[in-house]
């Protein structure tokens, strides 16, 4: 049974690294070898004829420009389905910000710096961030998140560095987000990320959950401490909207009281649950 | 302060009289003329409205067939354009080949 320990975090790190390498290596491939099979980063990624578009960016573009473009909807399809079935797995397993934050975590651990979640805000802030951002975008007439989104900025900075040998100023935002981590783990991801909020909203009826088996639990609280989002899996928050299914708590539990489970009863996932403006 | 270069077509037989007439205007300088009845005239005025009025006035002189603007320099405006303060409106029709000489 001990072999099972830490399995998810290793897997996750592998996936995150791979996902990060895509956006790290790709500009080099494009720039130096003109190999342009893959383009873009996690705002929109094109792999050959297959396109992915981040749901929030797509939604913003549609709302702000008040036009609909079919390929855009098709590009959003796979990420939306992923969120519908698996919840915020993009955040937990792919997002380069989370990846960098994890690296930061490891570095801090190495330096033996301990920290607590200093600032805690009401969870509701998360939803206001999403609504506020969408409203603001519509008022300004420009999709706000798309040029200030930390996950997108990581990709853009890499591209700028490779293609134009310079960095864009707005990269400071990434640094800011990572700095906030020092005070509260994943402060941005927890409270401010509108993309996370949208994915969480989409994943409200998701199939994949972290479920606690009461009979095995010793209430040791290890899982609660492990959760980067400050949730309490011990209280069953692994099944809440906010959980991004990273599996950290599953790994942390020594008694296998926590586990990923497919939602047993046929979930009422509405097939027509298109992203809506709340 | 606009400066305008004009080609003035005049009836050749009236040319001499016109040249005398034009030399009386302080804002007008005649740079050249030929036997076909072309005068090359440069006008310099305080404002473009004044320039227009002057052209109107001169066009009515005896013997003048027409007054064609060939070159206009509006100094203040150009300075602003150079400084990037205003963007000049583009007049494409000026560049159609059939209108170019």
């Amino acid at each position: 049974m001990s072999g099972k320990k830490r399995r998810y975090s290793r897997w996750r790190l592998a996936v995150q690294t791979a996902a990060f390498l895509v956006i790290l290596i790709n500009p080099f491939l494009n720039y130096y070898w003109q190999f342009s099979f893959v383009q873009g980063w996690y705002q929109s990624l094109g792999i050959g004829k297959l396109w992915f578009v981040s749901p929030l960016e797509g939604l913003e573009s549609i709302l702000v420009s008040k036009t609909v473009y079919l390929p855009l909807l098709i590009g959003m399809l796979i990420p939306v389905l992923l969120a519908l079935f698996l919840g915020r797995v993009f955040c937990g397993w792919i997002c380069p910000i989370h990846f960098l934050s994890e690296l930061e975590d490891r570095l801090l651990r190495l330096l033996r710096i301990k920290r607590r979640d200093l600032w805690r805000l009401p969870r509701m802030v998360f939803w206001f961030a999403l609504i506020g951002e969408l409203l603001l975008s519509m008022i300004i007439g420009a999709p706000l998140f798309v040029f200030l989104s930390p996950p997108g900025l990581v990709g853009r900075e890499i591209m700028m560095a490779v293609f134009f040998h310079t960095l864009a100023l707005e990269g400071v935002i990434v640094v800011l987000v990572l700095t906030l981590n020092l005070f509260t783990r994943r402060f941005f991801c927890r409270y401010l990320c509108p993309l996370g909020a949208l994915l969480a909203f989409l994943g409200s009826k998701r199939r994949l959950l972290v479920v606690k088996r009461e009979e095995e639990c010793l209430k040791c609280g290890l899982c609660d401490r492990a959760c980067p989002l400050g949730l309490s899996p011990s209280q069953g928050e692994g099944a809440s909207l906010y959980c991004w299914n990273c599996g950290e708590c599953v790994d942390a539990c020594r008694l296998n009281a926590l586990a990923f489970r497919w939602r047993a009863i046929g979930p009422r996932v509405q097939s027509d649950s298109q992203p809506r403006d709340e | 302060m606009p400066i305008g270069g004009f080609v003035v077509h005049v009836q050749p037989e009236e040319k001499e009289e016109l040249l005398r007439e034009l030399s009386r205007h302080p804002q007008v300088e005649v740079f050249g003329h030929d036997e076909k009845g072309h005068l090359i005239v440069v006008l310099e005025t305080e404002t473009s409205e004044e320039m227009e009025a002057l052209v109107e006035e001169l066009s009515r002189l005896r013997g003048v067939i027409n007054f064609n603007l060939a070159y206009l320099h509006a100094e203040d405006e150009v300075k602003k354009i150079e400084a990037g303060e205003i963007k000049p409106e583009i007049r494409f029709h000026r560049l159609r080949p059939e209108e170019s000489s």
Partner: protein, 796 residues
């Protein structure tokens, strides 16, 4: 001097207005003028037009070039090459030190001039001692000054006893030389540029003069546009070029079928009795074959009857119809004055001499010659191909003053004039260009001096010849101002002075010799070629222990190389070698040339005549002093050309001959090459002018839209061009230029992948030995979508 800003604006306004009605105002608004301390006059060194330019110097640095409106050649107009070449004089890539390497695998190291000249002399001497005089060679250029070519060939012929003196004009002008000599008995055009303003029909064939001779083309265009109804422009070219845009009639025929077209035009002229009977009776004979047998007009009629317009239209393809040929022939024959203009499209052909003859034939039949505006006018490619190489003895078969080497009397004349023993110059002509580099391939030539040209890029099928040049047992000396494809294969690189850094004469297309004065010092240790040649000859004399070599340069010893030395060489050449020849330049001394910024057109036997500008039209009594001198009868025209003892012009019976390599199933396209206005030849110079390189960073392949569509080639796609000799990969430009079934590539690009002469064919005209650059068969294939390409220049 300085204008107030207000005054400047008013003048600009007035000038702009005046330009609209074509009025000239005596005003100047030239800001560049105020920026230079002084202006030095000279000739532009890009192309054979011979534009007069002035170089602006400020604080000892070249800062601008401008045209001079009073000029007789260019009327003040320049092209961008000419306008910007001052940038090259202080270019960081300039070669400034002699560079040497024993083996071609090694890196170059800097050496002193003393050492460099010793090595150069030693290698040539060794080669002569071990393998005989014909194991050394000089390969010069139509861009070298006349003084340089003259001195080098004198040292080679009289000093080293070899006729291996060639030059790149073999690649561009040789067929025109052959054509003029066989048809008119004398090299070089009869008329001048001034005929353009008096012509009524321009027959431009095989020339994109809008790109290659832009400033001259402007004169043609002005003539046409000022008299749109009276003047007709006919352009015959397989490719639609900027030249054909002003043409009333564009004859588009399959590459290499021009001989049929020209013969068919002659057929129409004969059939419809459009010929000038008086002119034919008085001045012409008909000739055929190698033995130049004289035949009758009837024989000619019989011969020409095979070339009906119907048959020719069949051969020519394109848009040629029998009616079109008839129409063009009628215009040609009946216009008040017809001027033919042609360049490489005619010359660079397997039968270039014949093609030249056939153009001359049309003029002879119709008598469109010697009158104002009527001329058969070949355009030169290089600034000094006429003056230096054709007149100065820069080809293997001719001595200075249009003297064939073979003729004992003339050869001995030269030997006597030089004061060397008779028999010093061998009777046998040396290797012509292709033979010379074949000999390099075979190892027959052990040491070669390449001056001011880059055969590694400019020879057809150049890979073949580059192999030979890369041989370790061939010692190559290159004199140039920049690294080129050829310096890559050199053992010894000698840095030379550039234009305006030395004094000398260029002779342009219209027999005009113009002097360019030294304005600034060359950078670093670069030296004028005349100095290099003289010093080298002295070392050779020591090495070979041969006082005759020293004798060759004796008149020039100790002279200052910036002005005195070229002057002494020019004086010897003109006063001694051109005396009594058809290119008599005795009147065109340095003093006269300095007095006349537009130079002198030969024949100019006396100073008085030269001061009038020389001869505008050859062979016409009253206009040409030699026509009076050599007159044999009372007729107004006297064709005293040295090659025709009968004082007649010869109409040649030349059959149709297609190109050496025609497209077939395997290689279905015609490949043709040419120049773009912004680059000069191998772009070793123009490539270093950032403005020009930015405009044309790399060569591309022009494809007809129909072919492109068929092959799925889109603009910018990378295209593989393949011939039997090699392949190139070039970006595509799809446009209505080349006709269907033909592709066109510019040859200036130095990048290995885009160097089109790696695939062109090295078949050559048996008469003129000029290779057929213009036509070969190729196939093309789309390789990939657009790729960003980098401009490439050879650097050290």
């Amino acid at each position: 001097m300085a204008l107030s800003r207000r005054e400047f604006l008013k003048r600009t306004a007035a000038l702009t207005a005046a330009s609209l009605v074509g009025m000239n105002l005596p005003l100047k608004v030239d800001r560049a003028q105020a920026d230079a301390d002084r202006w030095v006059r000279g000739t532009c060194r890009f192309c054979g037009v011979g534009c007069r330019v002035e170089l602006g110097i400020k604080d000892g640095r070249p800062v601008a070039i401008r045209g001079v409106p009073q000029s007789r050649t260019n009327m003040g107009y320049l092209c961008m090459k000419g306008m910007l070449f001052y940038q090259l004089m202080r270019h960081p890539d300039r070669l400034t030190k002699p560079l040497y390497r024993e083996s071609k695998k090694e890196k170059f190291r800097e050496i002193s001039w003393e050492e460099a000249l010793s090595i150069a002399a030693k290698k040539f001497a060794e080669s002569i001692k071990n393998h005989g005089p014909d194991s050394v060679a000089y390969y010069g250029s139509g861009q070298a000054l006349t003084e340089e070519t003259y001195l080098f060939q004198k040292i080679m012929r009289a000093g080293l006893r070899t006729n291996n003196v060639e030059g790149n004009p073999r690649l561009c002008m040789a067929s025109a030389v052959g054509g003029y000599i066989t048809s008119f008995g004398a090299d070089e055009p009869i008329g001048s540029y001034a005929d353009i303003e008096q012509a009524f029909c321009f027959f431009i064939i095989g020339s994109n003069m809008a790109e290659a001779h832009p400033v001259l083309f402007r004169r043609v265009m002005r003539r046409k546009l000022d008299n749109p109804r009276e003047v007709t422009v006919i352009n015959a070219d397989p490719r639609r070029s900027p030249t054909s845009r002003i043409a009333d009639i564009h004859l588009q025929f399959k590459p290499g079928t021009d001989l049929a077209l020209l013969n068919a035009m002659a057929y129409v002229i004969v059939e419809e009795k459009l010929y000038n009977e008086d002119f034919l009776n008085n001045y012409c004979t008909f000739r055929v074959g190698k033995e130049k047998k004289e035949v009758s007009f009837e024989d000619y009629k019989k011969f020409i009857s095979a070339y009906t317009p119907e048959k020719a239209a069949d051969i020519c393809g394109g848009n040629i119809t029998p009616d079109l040929i008839r129409k063009v022939a009628r215009i040609f024959a009946t216009s008040p004055a017809t001027m033919s203009l042609w360049t490489m499209g005619i010359n660079q052909r397997i039968r270039g001499v014949w093609a030249n003859n056939l153009i001359h034939n049309l003029h002879l039949l119709t008598g469109q010659l010697c009158r104002p505006g009527a001329d058969s006018f070949s355009l030169t490619g290089q600034p000094n191909a006429c003056g230096g190489v054709r007149e100065g003895g820069g080809l293997c078969h001719i001595l200075p003053g249009h003297r064939p080497v073979k003729v004992d009397k003339l050869r001995h004349e030269v030997e006597d004039l030089w004061g060397v023993p008779r028999g010093r110059i061998p009777a046998k002509p040396g290797y012509h260009t292709i033979a010379m580099f074949s000999a390099v391939n075979e190892g027959k030539i052990k040491a070669i001096w390449i001056n001011c040209t880059s055969p590694a890029q400019s020879l057809p099928n150049c890979d073949k010849y580059r192999k030979g040049m890369a041989r370790e047992d061939v010692f190559i000396i290159v004199t140039d101002i920049f690294p080129t494809k050829t310096t890559e294969l050199a053992n010894l690189i000698l840095p030379t002075a550039f234009h305006f850094e030395k004094t000398g004469v260029f002779g342009c297309t219209e027999r005009r010799s113009q002097l360019t004065l030294k304005a600034i010092d060359p950078p670093g240790e670069a030296k004028p070629e005349v100095w290099i040649a003289r010093e080298w000859a002295l070392k050779l004399a020591e090495e070979l222990n041969d006082p005759v070599i020293k004798k060759c340069v004796e008149p020039f010893l100790g002279l200052e190389p910036g002005y005195e030395l070229p002057k002494a060489i020019w004086t010897e050449y003109t006063q001694k070698l051109t005396a009594g020849r058809d290119n008599d330049l005795r009147g065109a001394t340095y003093e006269v040339l300095q007095q006349l910024p537009d130079g002198v057109q030969w024949p100019a036997p006396t100073k008085e005549w030269a001061l009038k500008g020389g001869t505008y039209k050859k062979f016409v009594r009253g206009l040409d002093p030699l026509a009076d001198e050599h007159a044999i009868d009372e007729k107004p025209y006297q064709f005293y050309g040295p090659a025709h003892k009968d004082h007649k012009l010869w109409v040649w019976l030349r059959p149709y001959k297609g190109p050496a390599e025609e497209p077939d199933a395997e290689y279905p396209f015609y490949l043709s090459t040419g120049r773009v206005i912004d680059h000069w030849h191998t772009s070793s110079m123009t490539g270093r002018i950032k403005e020009l390189m930015r405009a044309n960073p790399y060569a591309y392949i022009e494809i007809n839209p129909k072919d492109a569509q068929r092959l799925g080639i889109k603009p910018g796609d990378m295209v593989l061009v393949e011939t039997r000799r090699g392949k190139n990969i070039l970006p595509a430009k799809v446009y209505e230029g080349p006709m269907e079934g033909m592709v066109f590539v510019y040859w200036y690009d130095m990048a290995e992948d885009r160097m089109i002469n790696r695939v062109t064919k090295d078949a050559f005209d048996p008469g003129s030995k000029e290779p057929e650059f213009k036509i070969c068969a190729c196939r093309i294939k789309r390789l990939s979508g657009p790729k960003p390409l980098k401009p490439y220049l050879v650097r050290l």
